[in-house]
Structure formats: structure tokens, C-alpha cells
């Protein structure tokens, strides 16, 4: 009888421990849901300057060569990017800045548009207001796919977990290309993001850490801060029409006074 009671006791303890573990994993879930807009915490003054104060990536020689090659390709004439800056456009003649295609690859970092995050039981979904792939972050315990069966994308394959009040996201399977602050990535490169919300719920800090022994001499880390959109606000739709010639333009110089 005593043996049977002890066996039941042990069984109950195991169940109690499991339930407690489940409660612990479910409890410290931050409230990330809502719209967020990246802010200029360093006072850079321009979108291009937002990463100016980030520590630069320390790359391996192989990765340095890949970055240099990419820079060479980017310098090739494309639209008006490589035009002769000493010859400004005349009045009424717009600067062509895109090929008019509305499809954008998106990426893992927020851009100038707001992004919106929704937390469901098995997935965290992040969508942008302008074209680009959404971030689908699986929190259902699944593993990353074998990269030999994965077509790399600008957002890769992401899995997440909640850890000490933060959402921790692991991503692989990204397309090769540049990373903020002089970094580089390949499909094998691992990105770890930590999403932390301030105690008042109004600021979201995302810490990015890039790791790849073939690319980085040491992990490459930086932070991006965003602000929650006001209560009652809504997601905008960034309309784009490839049939509109103006879609390709940025500014059109107006006639100048004499």
C-alpha cells in the first residue's frame, strides 16, 4: 500500500512539474501586438543616417570580398542612380528612381513604414505597410528546414520562443546580401533577434545579432528602436501602380524663378 502511494506521489510530482513548466513558459509573454514605427534614437536626421552610429561589422576576408563585389554591382548604372550628379535634371524632368515594379523583397528589419505585429498561439506574424514579404515566426516548436530544401528569401525561415520577457527569434535561409552597418549574410548565416518592450509598453527594442564563422570575426550586433502607434490608429495601405509612369519618379524639379 505504502509503495503504491509513493508511486502515485511520484507521478503527481512529475505532472505538477510539467504543469508548472508550462505555466512558466506561457507566463512571461510580452505584449508586442500592434503597430510600430522605427524612430531615430541617435538623432541622425535622415533615414540613411539611422545606422551611422552602429558598430561596424568585422568581416572575414572572404566576406569582405563578397561585400566589395556587391558594391561594384551596385555602382553599375541603374535608373538614375549612377547619373552624372553635375548635370541636374531640368524643370519638369523627373528623377527616375525605380523600374516601376511594385514588388519589393522586404527584409528582416523595419523600414520607413510602420510594421504591425500580431501574436497568435502558434505564430507571431509581422507585416509591413508597404510591399514586401511578411515575417512568419513559428512559435509552435518546429525546427528550421534543411537548407538544401529551402529557397532563400529576404526574410528567411524564423522560429521563436519567449525567454525572460522577450521574444527571441532565430532566422536562417536568407538570401545573400548586405547587412546593416557593413555586414554580410548568406543562407547559412544565423540571425538572432530579441524583441523587448519597455515597461510602459510604448517602445520596442529589437537587438539583432548576426553570427556566421565564415562571415564574421565576431558576432555583429546592433539595436533598432520603434515606438507604438497611437491607440485607435490603423494600418495604412501603401498603394503602388506599375502602369503609372510617375511611380518611377522621386522628385520632379519645378520651374525656377529668375
Amino acid at each position: 500500500m505504502t509503495t503504491a502511494l509513493r508511486a502515485i506521489g511520484v507521478l503527481l510530482l512529475v505532472v505538477a512539474t510539467t504543469v508548472a513548466a508550462q505555466q512558466q513558459s506561457a507566463a512571461p509573454m510580452p505584449d508586442l501586438e500592434g503597430g510600430w514605427v522605427r524612430i531615430d534614437v541617435d538623432g541622425s536626421g535622415s533615414f540613411n543616417g539611422l545606422a551611422a552610429k552602429f558598430l561596424r561589422a568585422v568581416l572575414t576576408p572572404t566576406a569582405q570580398a563578397a561585400v566589395a563585389e556587391q558594391a561594384k554591382r551596385a555602382a553599375q548604372p541603374r535608373f538614375d542612380f549612377a547619373r552624372d550628379a553635375s548635370k541636374p535634371k531640368g524643370a519638369g524632368e523627373g528623377y527616375v528612381v525605380t523600374d516601376g515594379n511594385c514588388t519589393l523583397p522586404g527584409g528582416v528589419e523595419p523600414n520607413s513604414a510602420a510594421f504591425h505585429l500580431v501574436q497568435s498561439r502558434e505564430q507571431v506574424l509581422i507585416v509591413r505597410e508597404n510591399p514586401g514579404l511578411p515575417r512568419t515566426i513559428y512559435i509552435d516548436g518546429r525546427a528550421h528546414p534543411d537548407l538544401s530544401r529551402w529557397a532563400p528569401t529576404a526574410v528567411g525561415h524564423s522560429t521563436g520562443r519567449f525567454e525572460a520577457g522577450a521574444l527571441v527569434v532565430e532566422t536562417i535561409g536568407l538570401t545573400a546580401g548586405n547587412v546593416t552597418a557593413g555586414g554580410w549574410r548568406t543562407p547559412e548565416t544565423r540571425l538572432t533577434e530579441r524583441y523587448r518592450v519597455s515597461s510602459d509598453g510604448q517602445r520596442l527594442t529589437i537587438t539583432y545579432t548576426w553570427q556566421d564563422a565564415k562571415v564574421y570575426v565576431k558576432p555583429h550586433t546592433y539595436e533598432i528602436v520603434s515606438e507604438r502607434t497611437p491607440p485607435g490608429s490603423w494600418a495604412f495601405e501603401s498603394w503602388c501602380d506599375s502602369s503609372d509612369p510617375n511611380q518611377r519618379l522621386s522628385i520632379v524639379p519645378p520651374p525656377q524663378g529668375k
Binding site: 502511494l5 509513493r6 502515485i8 506521489g9 503527481l12 510530482l13 505532472v15 505538477a16 504543469v19 505584449d31 501586438e33 500592434g34 523600374d99 516601376g100 515594379n101 511594385c102 514588388t103 504591425h116 500580431v118 501574436q119 497568435s120 498561439r121 502558434e122 505564430q123 506574424l125 507585416v127 505597410e129 514579404l133 511578411p134 512568419t136 509552435d140 518546429r142 528546414p145 529557397a151 528569401t153 525561415h157 485607435g232 490603423w234 494600418a235 495604412f236 495601405e237 501603401s238 498603394w239 503602388c240 501602380d241 506599375s242 502602369s243
Partner: protein, 233 residues
């Protein structure tokens, strides 16, 4: 004896707590999150009763508008986005629900709010502004704020979306959560003689489904453009 008492207390604590949590979960709203896809037999669409002002000329004009939107890979908007050939990703949060598409469409945001924003300051969109509420086990979504000039506007069964359209959707899980019934009701006095209602039934995609990048659409693909216009055999 003391040990046996401890076991009973532990059992009450563990299973009593679990039962209480189960009761709370049972009282809360259903979770319709998941990847949902349409099959060949998923659509029950009666013919719409169109308003007298919707002439064949007007319908042809609207069809030409939609053909242009398809040709140039414009965001589809409603209702076309909900008729996707790929699974749609519905994610239910605390304050909103997002529906994302693997096609050329912007995500839908369904806000758990009591009212729409002031339409005087709302920029109309292809998906409009959606507010949601639970009516028992049914999620009722009310949408206004459409832009009738953007995206693909044709409505299954006849008619088309305009800037005055009002859409009410009712989402309900069937078959122990394996099927999602979605009833669409469109109201627009200029287009419909009476509210036009049809139903789609989505099938839940396998649990380990992996979201795919949207189907590509290249507006500058000349072969595609020729195919769509019928210029070449």
C-alpha cells in the same frame, strides 16, 4: 497517513488548477488562427440581384478596369484576395486579427473595436477598414472605407466593389475546427438590388504548413502581358 493527505492536496492543486484553466479557455472565444485554403468545392455563390443602374456597359467598363489591375499586378484587395489559390494565413491576436495572403495583396487588419475611424480622415483602401466582434462562436467583421478605383473589384456572383460598398463577414469554425465557414454579405445600393450573400468554406492546411513567398507577378513580362490581352495565341 500524512503522506497520503499530501498526495490528495497535490492532486487537487494540479488537476483543480488545470480544470479551472480549461473552464476559462472554454468560455473564451474560438481561435480561428491557421492557414486556410479553398478547394474546388469550397464556394457556394448564388447570382447577385443587381440594381437597375448596373447596365451591361457599366459592367464592361468595370471588367476593363479589373483587367488593367490584373495586367499591372495591382494589389487585389477585397473580395479577390479572399479567393486566393494559395492558403491564407489568419492570425488572431488580442486586439486585432491579421490575414496575410500569398498573392499580390496587402494584409487585412481586423480590429476588435467598437467603431470605424472617422471616414473624413481615412484614406480609402483596397481592403477598407474592418472592425470585428464575437457573436457567440461567430466572428462578425464589418468593413467600409473601400477605394472603388483600386484593385480587382469584381464580386463573386455579380456586381463589383465601389467606394460606397459595405461588407459584413461572418467567420465560424465547423467540423471540430477543420473547416472555416465565411459568409460574405455585400451591400451597395448603387450595385445591388438587395444584399448579396455567398459563402466560402476554407479547409485547414496541415499544421506544419510553411508560409510561401507570394506568387510572383511581373508587370513588365511581355509574354504574360500578351497572354492576358490575347494578342498572341
Amino acid at each position: 497517513m500524512r503522506f497520503a493527505t499530501l498526495i490528495v492536496i497535490a492532486a487537487m492543486a494540479v488537476f483543480g488548477g488545470a480544470a479551472a484553466r480549461g473552464a476559462v479557455a472554454a468560455q473564451s472565444s474560438p481561435d480561428i488562427s491557421g492557414f486556410w485554403e479553398l478547394s474546388f468545392d469550397s464556394r457556394r455563390v448564388p447570382a447577385a440581384s443587381l440594381a437597375p443602374g448596373v447596365t451591361p456597359t457599366l459592367l464592361a467598363k468595370q471588367a476593363a478596369h479589373d483587367a488593367h489591375a490584373i495586367r499591372w499586378c495591382n494589389f487585389l484587395g477585397l473580395p479577390a484576395a479572399m479567393d486566393s489559390t494559395r492558403p491564407i494565413n489568419i492570425r488572431q491576436g488580442r486586439r486585432e486579427m491579421v490575414i496575410n495572403f500569398e498573392t499580390v495583396a496587402t494584409p487585412r487588419h481586423l480590429y476588435f473595436r467598437a467603431s470605424h475611424p472617422n471616414m473624413e480622415i481615412f484614406d480609402p483602401t483596397t481592403n477598407g477598414d474592418s472592425i470585428a466582434r464575437w457573436d457567440g462562436d461567430t466572428l462578425v467583421v464589418d468593413t467600409i472605407g473601400f477605394d472603388g478605383a483600386k484593385g480587382v473589384t469584381m464580386i463573386p456572383g455579380g456586381g463589383y466593389r465601389t467606394s460606397d460598398s459595405h461588407l459584413v463577414e461572418r467567420f465560424r469554425l465547423l467540423n471540430q475546427g477543420a473547416v472555416l465557414s465565411l459568409t460574405f454579405t455585400w451591400e451597395d445600393a448603387k450595385v445591388f438590388r438587395m444584399p448579396h450573400t455567398y459563402e466560402f468554406r476554407y479547409v485547414r492546411a496541415p499544421r506544419m504548413y510553411e508560409a510561401q513567398p507570394p506568387l510572383a507577378c511581373n508587370p513588365f513580362d511581355e509574354q504574360r502581358a500578351a497572354f492576358l490581352s490575347g494578342d498572341r495565341p
